[in-house]
Amino acid sequence: MGEGKYMEQDSECRNKIKGQLVDFQWKLGMAVSSDSCRSLRYPYVAVMLKVADHSGQVKSKSFEMTVPQFQNFYRQFKEIAAVIETV
């Protein structure tokens, strides 16, 4: 995953109505072994988001991050917090 970046003018979100995050659930998992690899041994962060659209309808979206990806995700949110505080 690329480092978080400042959203460009032509981003996908530009003309979309933004969703509101209603819930954020997380899970720290450990992949142990699989069909193709008996020795996986890696931790991952699984996230379940509940997002409300403009009509109030709530949809769930889940995704996974490796630990380094999570750390970047966290770093980006800290930066968002720092900026939003100063605006």
Binding site: K5, R41, F63, E64, I80, I84
Partner: protein, 188 residues
């Protein structure tokens, strides 16, 4: 077979082709392609068992995610076997694993992830101002775009809006995740 220096290069190429086929999902790497490109003088019926043997060795190493001690022990055992590998071949395999281990492991990890992964994150902060009667109210909002996608599929974009309160709520959750990760990484 494949004991001379040219054989080493061919074997290196073979392992690379096998890895691209088995781990990195590259299509079209057939037995015939590998033979004709790397071992053109070897007849197909002789090449086939050789390829199977090398594929088996590479898969065993990758499946166990062998460290260098395990690798050495494993290759030594393979050399002692009837119809096993030569010491030159062991050297090539060892060199290959050392330089490709990380990338192969990453591919195996991606193969085992069936949910969407986070492909990208971008954001900006807007100072939204609204007029309430004659007073201007400034409520800064963060717009976050998450790019999600499953292996081999097109990305899906989630566009979310957060006010300062919400950002801090998320931060609190993320710090809980970080605490859990630290606890996990602590030696037992």
């Amino acid at each position: 077979m494949a004991g001379e220096p040219e054989g080493s290069r061919a074997l290196g190429g073979l392992l690379s082709g096998l890895a691209r086929d088995a781990f990195h999902g590259q299509p079209g790497i057939t037995e015939e392609l590998l033979r004709s490109q790397l071992y053109p003088e070897v007849p197909p019926e002789e090449f086939r068992p050789f390829l199977a043997k090398m594929r088996g060795v590479l898969k065993s190493i990758a499946s166990a995610d062998m460290d260098f001690n395990q690798l050495e022990a494993f290759l030594t055992a393979q050399m002692k076997k009837q119809g096993g590998i030569t010491s030159d071949q062991a050297a090539v395999i060892s060199k290959f694993w050392k330089s490709h281990k990380t990338k192969i492991r990453e591919s195996l990890m991606n193969q085992s992830r069936w949910d969407s992964g986070l492909r990208g994150l971008s954001w900006r902060v807007d100072g939204k101002s609204q007029s309430r009667h004659s007073t201007q109210i400034h409520t800064p909002v963060a717009i976050v775009e998450l790019e999600l996608g499953k292996s081999g599929q097109e990305s899906e974009f989630l566009c979310l809006e957060f006010d300062e309160v919400k950002v801090n709520q998320i931060l609190k959750k993320l710090s809980e995740v970080e605490e859990s990760i630290s606890a996990l990484m602590q030696p037992a």
